[in-house]
């Protein structure tokens, strides 16, 4: 894949192809300046528990990043509880991860995959897919630049090659603002894509549609969260149609036929006719 911002060549990380989603899992890697760490699982804990990131299923709390993760989950300061309808999570990762906020993009992606039942366990098999990511996510789900991207890409070369040799697809995601850093490493890796907004890779991620009325209590069942996302996706579609009609009304009917002509490809991405 050409290393372009994903707006121009969008590939959804959560597919709409149900047959593909049945067998293959998508694993998420947090790229670090020391190496990398697989996200092994996400668990919805008792609401009285503080959100935490633990090492490899042990009782070892990665405290430096756990405090940041708590902020990332919490309503008001973060986006996870707002977007996924639960207030306390535990994440297990295969190796220690850095301080800073660059884990936020892979963690958000993992939450989205977990909600869909598609998150892998950090042990990819042939036919699975791996998302290798780094980036900071703000309250509007924009992806911001982070430090150390060149170093992270350098650390990815050997393990990514090994995964691909095993028949595992690997896609690397970095903030668009960081594209160009570690260009040599990116060229060796291939499939390095820039992400500007989470909506570039997750069609249903749209912070402008979140509302307090839709926030789910921490005791709600997972099925309510799924219908909540579905309602957001419907509102996104209706908003897009309304905008299209408005644009057509301004520019005339002929322009409408072009604006309206957006197909979803087999991977849920957008492409023009």
């Amino acid at each position: 894949m050409n290393a372009q911002a994903l707006e121009a060549n969008s590939t959804s990380v959560i597919t709409t192809d149900e047959s593909e989603s049945q067998a293959a899992k998508t694993h998420v890697v947090i790229a670090t300046t020391e190496g990398y760490a697989f996200i092994q699982r996400i668990t919805e804990e008792d609401p009285g528990v503080q959100s935490v990131i633990c090492l490899d299923g042990t009782v070892q709390d990665l405290r430096q990043v756990s405090s940041g993760y708590r902020d990332f989950v919490r309503r008001g300061s973060g986006v996870i509880a707002r977007d996924f309808g639960h207030s306390a999570f535990r994440i297990d990762v295969s190796k220690p991860i850095d301080q800073g906020n660059s884990w936020q993009l892979p963690v958000y992606l993992a939450h989205a995959l977990h909600q869909q039942g598609k998150l892998g366990d950090g042990k990819p098999q042939r036919g699975d897919r791996v998302l290798w990511a780094t980036g900071e996510v703000d309250i509007d789900l924009s992806v911001r630049r982070v430090a150390g991207v060149a170093q992270k890409l350098a650390h990815a070369i050997a393990p990514v090659r090994e995964l691909r040799e095993q028949g595992i697809e690997v896609q690397l995601l970095v903030p668009t603002e960081n594209m160009g850093e570690g260009a040599g490493h990116a060229e060796v890796l291939g499939s390095v894509s820039g992400v500007t907004r989470l909506a570039d890779v997750l069609p249903q991620a749209n912070p402008t549609l979140s509302s307090n009325e839709e926030c789910i209590s921490s005791n709600s069942s997972p099925t309510l969260s799924v219908s909540w996302l579905q309602r957001r996706w419907i509102w996104a579609a209706l908003t897009a149609v309304a905008l299209a009609i408005g644009v057509a009304g301004y520019f005339g009917y002929e322009r409408l036929s072009n604006v309206d002509a957006v197909d979803l490809d087999d991977f849920g991405g957008r492409s023009a006719r």
């Binding site: 804990e45 009285g48 528990v49 503080q50 935490v52 009782v59 070892q60 405290r63 708590r70």
Partner: protein, 177 residues
């Protein structure tokens, strides 16, 4: 755990109490080898010298000194209650200024979260230590700096530290580092 030294006032108090105990004849053994400031430093968060905790357990005078020093640094306290050895471990301990909640992890049922909930949330980013004074055991446990007035640790369910923490016949003393 970084080495921490007690503040001078605590060291002075430790020395004073040690001298009082010696003069009153309440110290059963000569505690000369256990310097009062080593005990004060331990309460302030420093690593204890080898054998300190065992000596405090064995020597009534030192034990009393230890408790007296804890009162000068404590933020919250849960006193010992009567309990039978057959009593199940409690899901919650409460005391003056805090409560301690225990919840089983849904991710790994063999692990339990212990959460200190402060009545007056700590506005600084300083960690906590919980001193556990049991019938036949002394323990000091580090907890991270409170977040929204809560500080949490994860334990294996069969951990002896957790077991002591949950026993209502053990005394709990919270110290802010």
């Amino acid at each position: 755990m970084t080495n921490k030294s007690a503040d001078p006032a605590t060291i002075a108090l430790a020395s004073y109490l040690q001298c009082q105990a010696a003069l009153a004849g309440t110290a059963r053994t000569a505690p000369a080898q256990v310097l009062p400031w080593a005990l004060a430093s331990y309460i302030a968060g420093a690593e204890p010298p080898a054998g300190l905790v065992d000596r405090v357990r064995a020597d009534l005078g030192l034990y009393r000194l230890y408790r007296d020093l804890l009162t000068t640094r404590s933020q919250a306290w849960s006193f010992r209650q009567a309990a039978a050895s057959s009593d199940p471990p409690s899901d919650e301990r409460s005391g003056k200024g805090f409560r301690l909640e225990f919840r089983r992890s849904r991710a790994t049922p063999g692990q339990i979260y212990a959460t200190v909930v402060l009545d007056s949330p700590n506005t600084t980013e300083r960690g906590l230590q919980v001193h556990v004074l049991g019938e036949d055991a002394l323990l000091r446990l580090d907890f991270p700096a409170p977040f929204d007035g809560r500080s949490q640790r994860l334990f294996p369910a069969n951990s002896p530290e957790l077991s002591l923490l949950r026993r209502i016949d053990s005394e709990l003393v919270l110290v802010t580092l």
